[in-house]
Amino acid sequence: MKPPYDLIHAYFMKNISPEDFDRLCTWLEADPKHVDLLVRESVIHEGIHHILTGEKLRQEEGIPAAEVEWTPACPGINDQESILARYGSEDEKQRQIEQYAELQLQRFLAEQEALRRAASSPPSRAPQWPRIDFQAVGRRLNAVLLGAYRSVVVGTLLLALGLTVTIGIQYILSHRVAATVGDSVDARWEMDPPESGLLPGWATLLEGYARLDFKSGARVILQAPCELRLKSTKRVFLGSGQLTVKVPEGLRGFTVLTPTAGLVDYGTEFGVRVDARGDTESHVFSGQVNVRAGKQNRLLTEGLAVRVDTAKNLRVSPLQDRPDYFTRRLPDKNTTGRPTLSYRKPAWIHLDLAHVAGGGDGVEGPCPNFALDPSTGRIHSQIATRSPKGRQGDRHYHAVASLAYVDGIFVPDGNHRPVVSSAGHVFVDCPQTTNSFWSDIGVTRTRQDQYGQGYQLTLDGRDYCTPAHPGINMHANTGITFDLQAIRGAYPDRDIVRFQTTCGLSTMNLTPNDPLVDMWVLVDGEVQFAALGLSRGQYKTVRLSMEPEGRFLSLVCTDGGDWISGDHAVFGEPELALKSKDQTPKPNTNKE
């Protein structure tokens, strides 16, 4: 039996009818696991309150974060031995417990005070217009000016006329139908649109697809879930979700506003999407669109895409042909009236990160086989080993703006808390290294560097960094970070489900020593995989489930505690598996 989340939600929102409450009770009584589910929902419900209240206290009362965090992992009072071992003495333990208890008491009292204040005074609203006593103004005018009475009468009449006209225009505009629902497929609305048409206001599509025909002539296809506010016959606000606009010849100025941008069409077809974070993405299929974000204005032509984040950063890129990104027409219906799809998209896409590191898009097309210098962030046409003794890192993270899914590169050294992403994530567990590296990061298709040194990066008999078996050549100490959020943005209808690679120290034997390396896989700076002390020929297979919130994936090779000599490591066939979210209606099986 599917959990009645709508009933549980209504219960916690105090918006449940007696009949629905009875249904909820019946469901709870049916199975103890149902009660467990209610417990989980209650923890989430109270947790939201607890966390947001803590935030509010931090902001308003200046109470440090540590003091408002609920830390259930405190040592138990009964565990005397471990406590004494931790604190060293009974007196010290007592002092620390008192200090902690006092801080918690302060937090509790501050929360009570905040609650009392919130209950006694409503949150501040926008300042109200001051009330003007027109009669007092009129009396004063009468007393001061000759003919003031006549002036006041005339002025008042003009004011009344102006107000009437303004109110009348507002009334007409607000009651003028902006659009009608031209067609729909499996559509379910939050509120069913009237047959006479949609007036300015919110229209929320919960399921399916719908085409709105605007009175101005524009046609907009909505794909659920979608929150749209119709402002007029030529202007809409997209709160969340995605739509496609097609504007007929001769009509200009149809505007789509989003939380971060404004898009004005100049006779075109374009798609707009607002994701869960509030970022805006738009693709121009034909014609031109002007994009405004903050103080920036860009004119986009056919074949271009733009992304505007919540900080109003605007990024334009070529539009890649992805037919399943925006719905440009309603899905077909078959003779039984059930919706079907006229196209099928592959369930999986495997993004080749070696292709990406080399300057490609990870899927197909040209790959320049770039090499990346982790000490400067520069891109070279081939791997370089500029000094036989190796090069020093500069202890900085170098963003790589020109490669679509590469966030940056760095030389890892635990002596200096290495930053491993443009968002400032730190690789806290990074071991201390020599802060030096031998060669650029690259895909080594040229098979030799500028000294004529050949590379053969073999693991388990397989030669990596070849067209048949791509790989990323990462001699210690180097690191490269991929931007998962950029990949998600490029594939919004897919989840990044898995990362896999075979990583190890190749059998290439150019030095007399017995080298060792450590190889790491990080997400947002946190270790997800580590293979320590790999010797020549040793390798590990990595198969990592990816969380939807992880922003950056880093591949790192460190020197294993000895010098960098001979540390020719490789991440072989590194790939991200992207799975279709399958948002579209299921195909009709014709079983009825």
């Binding site: 989430i44 939201i48 009072i77 007592q94 209950a119 939380p259 869960a276």
Partner: protein, 184 residues
């Protein structure tokens, strides 16, 4: 040290021990009461009452028994007393269901700690209007009509929005728990 000083020191030890224990279980008690009393103000009053009873009866607490179970027992009793006072209210769980819910909280698989930590990470992803709606509901304690007016939307649309946000938080929490992520 004279006898009075010794007594004072002993009292101080008891108070600090109690404060520490209470903070360890406070969230669990709050969520247990919230499961049974969805009204914020009433639930808050009941939790305060639980705290008072715990303080008054701490000298009778059996140290062999887990403190958490003892406090949840007191909380259940206070909820039942609330239920008697609200006899006219129809939307209150039966005693049998209250017992079941209390029992569910005692089960180790319903640990609140992991859910809370996962929720902290997931809540960071909620932004903009959605986050504002949550803040107005959960911290400002505004009524639905007020929040809807504040956000410039209809009341029903607000409920849909809150429902959707909670659903996404639930899915995020379940994913994190399923992957056994090490949360901070």
């Amino acid at each position: 040290m004279n006898e009075e000083d010794s007594r004072n020191q002993a009292d101080r030890k008891v108070v600090t021990e109690l404060a520490l224990r209470w903070t360890e279980v406070q969230f669990e008690v709050s969520s247990f009461v919230a499961a049974l009393i969805p009204d914020f103000h009433d639930a808050h009053d009941v939790v305060q009452q639980v705290a008072v009873v715990v303080i008054n009866k701490f000298d009778r607490y059996d140290q062999e028994r887990p403190f958490r179970d003892w406090v949840l027992g007191i909380a259940k009793y206070e909820v039942l007393k609330y239920r008697e006072r609200q006899a006219h209210e129809k939307l209150i769980f039966s005693q049998a269901l209250i017992d079941r819910i209390a029992e569910a909280y005692r089960r180790p698989e319903n640990s609140t700690q992991q859910v809370y930590q996962a929720l902290k990470q997931c809540l960071r992803q909620v932004r903009g209007r959605n986050r504002r709606a949550l803040q107005l509901w959960y911290t400002e304690r505004m009524e639905a009509e007020q929040i809807a007016e504040w956000l410039g939307m209809k009341r029903n649309a607000l409920y849909v929005m809150l429902h959707r946000v909670r659903a996404s938080l639930r899915e995020c929490v379940e994913r994190r728990l399923a992957w056994g992520e090490k949360v901070s």
